[in-house]
Every structure is written in C-alpha cells, then in structure tokens.
C-alpha cells in the first residue's frame, strides 16, 4: 500500500501521562508509527487502553508528555496556538457519541457553518449556505428538510452524519475517527461505515480509526494497531493480523468475538481471565502478564520490546521474540 506514497503522519515515542494523586497514569506509553497518505490505521483495544487519548494527543487537543508528532513534514508537538489553528483545517475529529458531541442549542446549519465562522472562510452569505448544503448532500442528508432542525429532533444516524459533515467542512487531509459507529444500531452502523469509506476514496482522506470492535476495524483499516494499557502490543496489515495473530492478547481478542454463524453454538472460546489492571505507576513488566495464559518469569520482570518479527508485522512479546531467534 505504501509504495511511493508520502508519510502524512509520524508519531515517535509518544507519551501521555496524567497526574493523579496516586502517581502518573500511563495513558499512552511510547507509541510510534507512520501513517501514509490515503491509508487507514485502525487502533483497537479495550476501554481504558489509551486509544482515545492517543487520538486526542495526536491532534494536540491535549498536550503530550514526551515524544514527537510530525504531520506533513512539520513537527507539531510544540507549535504555537496560532499555527495550531491553521493546522486544524487539515486535521479533524469525529466523536463517538453523536448525542453529546453536537451543541443542542445550535441548528444543523449553525453546526456545520461553525468551522467557517471560526476560520473566517466564505465571507459571502450565499456562498456559505451553498457550501453547507453541499456538505450535507455529501454525507447523505437532505438539506431541504434538515438544515433548520436541531440535534434533538434527529436520530443517531443522522446526527453522526452531521458530525461527519462538520469534520469535512474545512477539507481536511486527515481525520481521527473516535468510535464513530459504536453508539449506532447495526443497520445504521453499516450506512455510516460505507459513507466513510466512500468519502475516503472521493476526498483522498487519511484516517485513524479508533474502535473496540475488531470486525469493524478489519473492515475499514489497512493496518491495525492493537493497544493494551497504553502500550503497543501488535501491529500488522489488517489481513495479516487476522490470519496470523501473534500476541496472546490479540489472539484472545480475536477468539472473544462472537461469530454470527449457527455452527459456533455453544463453542467455548478461550476466555481471557481477569481484568485490566491499573495504569497508575505500572511496574516494569509486560503489562499483559497478569492476564496472559503463557506468561513466565521474564514476562513479570522486564517490559518486552516492540520488534518486527515478519515483514511489517510488529509484536511486543517476550515469547514471540524467542521463537524467531
């Protein structure tokens, strides 16, 4: 996929720690990856693994603790507010909950128009109106009926389309999609996923797609990054990851997906024991070790490195490194 394409986003050793009374909470811990133009990176993991924090840190909605974020060739880790605002034209976000991410006191027109107001684009009123209706049509909303309604009058699917239209308003290159379909019904989920894939092709977008749903991640992503407690656990192309998952956590995640097929009735999947432990001041070990069925001594004493074990297939696991050497 990456042949001859430019790197749009590069993240180097990114860390985000939150201060808590009990010590630093390692929400994002040493994440590095490159994202090529026109590709989609799926970020997968359970709640609390830091995937949303990663998305927000990359967009500089929250400051990072350490590491570098390079967007389109410029280091944006510490750029000034004024420059950041310019940059936001190119990078946008779609939020998870369409019921909470739209201002209830603004009409649909005002919501989609807001980016133009902030960035002082389209001075002419008619021009703005045309652009708003155009955006609504792009995301499959009928401007005639909806443009003057308020979010509470609309259902989840339509609201999420408004969220998408708002994100597209400034012609961004790059969008962080933070669980954009998880609050929606299955049939609506499929509509929004299709819409997002079409838009990506038509408008040449690059996505980071954050989700806890592996089937959705596989469907939309080129590459998938699996996170566990702030750490990178495994990264590979989406086909590769599903064909040959290496890390015990990825394997457990895959086997926990219920398959909609009658022949799976009553089949006991390998159920992962225990729950995610606290990311506040974690000890220097493999963070998955307390739940790992294969863990042995070294897993409890040292943190595994994230290494390439096959072509473009990265894993952080003591056991995997062993078999390949």
């Amino acid at each position: 996929m990456s042949n001859g394409k430019n790197v749009l986003l590069e993240v180097q050793n990114l860390k985000k720690y939150f201060d808590t009374p009990r010590g630093p909470l390692h929400a994002v811990d040493d994440i590095s990856f490159k994202l090529f133009e026109g590709e989609t990176l799926g970020v997968v993991g359970e709640s609390g693994c830091g995937k949303s924090t990663l998305g927000r840190t990359i967009l500089r909605l929250i400051p990072s603790t350490a590491g570098k974020i390079i967007f389109n060739g410029t280091d944006i880790t510490h750029i000034r507010r004024k420059d950041l605002r310019e940059l936001r034209k190119q990078m946008q976000i779609i939020f998870q909950d369409p019921f909470a991410s739209l201002d209830p006191k603004m009409s649909v027109f005002q919501i989609i128009n807001e980016p133009f107001k902030i960035h002082k684009l389209y001075k002419d009123k008619q021009e703005r109106f045309n652009r708003v209706t155009e955006l609504m049509e792009i995301v499959g909303l009928d401007p005639h009926y909806i443009i003057n309604t308020y979010p509470h009058e609309l259902d989840g699917g339509r609201r999420q389309r408004i969220g998408v239209a708002r994100a597209l308003a400034l012609n961004p290159k790059f969008i962080v999609c933070d669980e954009p379909v998880s609050a929606l019904d299955v049939s609506i989920q499929a509509q929004i996923l299709n819409l997002m894939m079409d838009l990506k092709d038509e408008l040449d977008l690059t996505y980071i797609f954050i989700t806890h749903n592996l089937s959705v991640a596989k469907h939309i992503s080129d590459d998938i990054l699996v996170m566990y407690m702030g750490k990178m656990v495994e990264k590979a192309s989406s086909d590769r990851l599903f064909e040959n998952p290496l890390h015990p956590y990825t394997k457990a995640l895959l086997s926990a997906i219920p398959i909609p097929d009658a022949s799976y009735k009553g089949k006991e999947a390998e159920v992962l024991q225990g729950e995610v432990t606290s990311p506040v001041m974690p000890s220097e070990n493999c963070r998955f070790s307390p739940r790992c069925p294969l863990a042995r001594e070294e897993c409890f004493s040292a943190s595994p490195e994230f290494v390439e074990v096959e072509d473009k297939h990265y894993v952080a696991c003591h056991l995997i490194k062993k078999c390949n050497n």
Partner: protein, 327 residues
C-alpha cells in the same frame, strides 16, 4: 423437556403521552419451553425491551396500555394486582438489565442489594442463612465474597454485571430475562459474562429470553430466535433455520446480516438497510418494513401481511408467502 413455561398471545402495548399514541408492541405471540433460550433480536425501537418489561409487569400503569395474554406457568398474569406480581417478580421471573453502571444502587453495599432479594422472597430465612446464601451467590458469579461490603463504584463494569446476575438468580427464577447484558462491556469481559451465564443456565435449568442486537452472541448462546421490527415478530425460527443462508428469510433479517462486518469473510462494502426505523407513533400502513424493503411491491403497502409457516419457522412477508406458497 417440552413443557411450556410461557405463552404470549397477541400482546400489544400502546403508550399514550400527551395524546400521541406510540404503538410499541403490535400483536406478538410467542411460547417458551422450560430450559429454552430464546433470542429477541432487533434494533432500537423494535419493542424488545417493552416486551420484556410487560412480562415483568414493570410498565408504567397510566401511560402504557396492554392487551393480550401472558400465560406463565399456566396462569394469565396480565393485569394481575401489584401484590401478586411482587411474588412473581424477582422470584419466578427476573431480569438482568443492560447497563450495570446505572442499575445498581450506588449508596448500598452490594451484599445488601443481593440479600434484599433473598429477604423479600424468603420470609423464613434467618439473617445468617441469608448471609450464607449471599456469599454462595457471589462465589457462583466469580466474585470473592469478602468484597460484599464494598459499594458498586468499587467494582469494574464486568464485575458489576456479575453482581446484577447474582441478584437476578438469587431466587433461582424459572424465567430469566437478559436485556442486552453484554453491550456495555468490553469484548474479553463480554466473553467472560457469556460463559458465566451459560454455566449458570445449565445449573439452574432456567429458561432465558435474551434481548440483543448482537447476532454473534445469538449464534453462540440461543436455541430459538425471534426477529423483531416495529413491534412485530417478522421472523421466528430455530437458530439453525435463522442462520442458514440458503433458506428463505424476511428481507429485514437479510438486511441485519448484510449490515454486519464479518471477520470470516472480506467484503468490500456492507449492504446496509436503506432508511431508518419508523417512529412507533407513525408506523406505515401494510407491512411495516415496506418503506425500507429493497423488494417492496404494491401488495406490501396495504392491508395485513400473511405469515408463511414451515414447521417451526415463521416469516411474516408477502413475498416469501407468495414465493413459497402456503405449505
């Protein structure tokens, strides 16, 4: 084994709020055997939860109007008094709610919340016996009984759902209604809870009505499936019948399967159902699915919809009926 536990005949539920009538459930009929696990599948607004709440006798008396029959253990429990319902609810029929975060009372210790159910329904148990039973329940759902003096906020989502399950099974109910018990949980925790429910169901021999929109969970757990749309059961059959792609299905069932990204096969595009679920106060005439149906014809737009029956498999659709004939 084939003893009937529950029969629902022609259940309708109407809500009237400020003179607007919402038709939440429109004439559903079902029956459930002892030990059977039935899935109620459908999207938001299909009437799944309303059906469950009407079995529990928990619908608001003044706004919800019920009609039809609910025969539970040979007795019609529709419209019986609150005193009588209290004896059934929690003891013979109990429910696991969707969101464990909001269903537990935050100001009571979890042990007390479990003991409450035992105390209300077992007047002859003394406090020590109740404590012992409570410890045993916690143990059954995989929570160390030593944690019974903690408050709900001290538990994770998965553990809260285990506590909800402990409350629901406290009196060994004949019928357990699980309303989206795993939707609010992470995948690995989901798998743990499903495994737990399966084990407990086998132990207790309870019948289960599982309300869900997760077809994966249905395939994994249930015996029979009822697909609901706009307050009606549009298709009913055994798990094998519903999931067999070579058989005839209701277009809505097909739509649900098409909307689902499947990790087993690579599809470039999903085939979603066009449009939106109708609001229950403005249901279309004729087949309620016709405005969204890709195969809609003129006959679908008016009148009653015939039901095609083949053994236990029922499909409420003009087209299937026309194509397959009245077998």
């Amino acid at each position: 084994m084939n003893e009937k536990l529950l029969t629902i005949r022609d259940l309708t539920v109407k809500y009237t709020v400020e003179k607007v009538v919402s038709y939440a459930v429109n004439g559903i009929s079902l029956s459930l055997n002892k030990g059977e696990i039935l899935a109620l599948v459908g999207e938001t607004g299909a009437g799944k939860t309303t059906t469950a709440l009407s079995l529990m006798g928990l619908l608001p008396r003044y706004t919800a109007k019920l009609n039809g029959e609910i025969i539970f253990k040979g007795k019609n429990i529709m419209g019986i008094g609150e005193d009588e319902y209290r004896k059934i609810r929690g003891r013979e029929i109990s429910m696991i709610f969707q969101d464990p975060m909001t269903s537990l009372n935050p100001v009571f210790r979890v042990g007390e919340q479990i003991s409450d159910v035992l105390r209300i329904h077992n007047k002859d148990m003394n406090p020590r016996e109740i404590q012992e039973a409570c410890d045993k329940l916690l143990d059954q759902v995989g929570i160390p009984p030593s944690r019974k003096d903690e408050y709900p906020h001290q538990f994770s989502g998965g553990m809260k759902q285990r506590i909800m399950i402990a409350i629901a099974i406290a009196c060994k109910p004949d019928l357990l209604i699980a309303d989206e018990p795993t939707t609010a949980l992470d995948v690995t925790i989901q798998a743990q809870v499903v495994k737990l429910m399966r084990t407990l169901q086998k132990e207790l021999g309870s019948s289960v009505i599982m309300i869900t929109h997760d077809l994966g969970l249905v395939a994994n757990f249930c015996d029979n499936v009822a697909v609901m749309y706009a307050g009606e059961i549009v298709e009913y059959g055994s798990l094998e019948e519903i999931f067999d792609k070579s058989r005839a299905h209701h277009p809505y069932t097909n739509g649900l399967f098409g909307s689902l990204p499947n990790i087993m096969e690579k599809a470039d595009r999903l085939t979603p159902i066009f449009g939106l679920t109708p609001h229950p106060s403005e249901l279309p005439e004729g087949c309620k699915f016709h405005p969204r149906c890709p195969e809609c014809t003129e006959v679908c737009k008016k009148g009653d919809v015939p039901v095609w029956v083949n053994g236990g498999h029922r499909i409420q659709c003009h087209l299937v009926f026309g194509r397959m004939g009245d077998e």
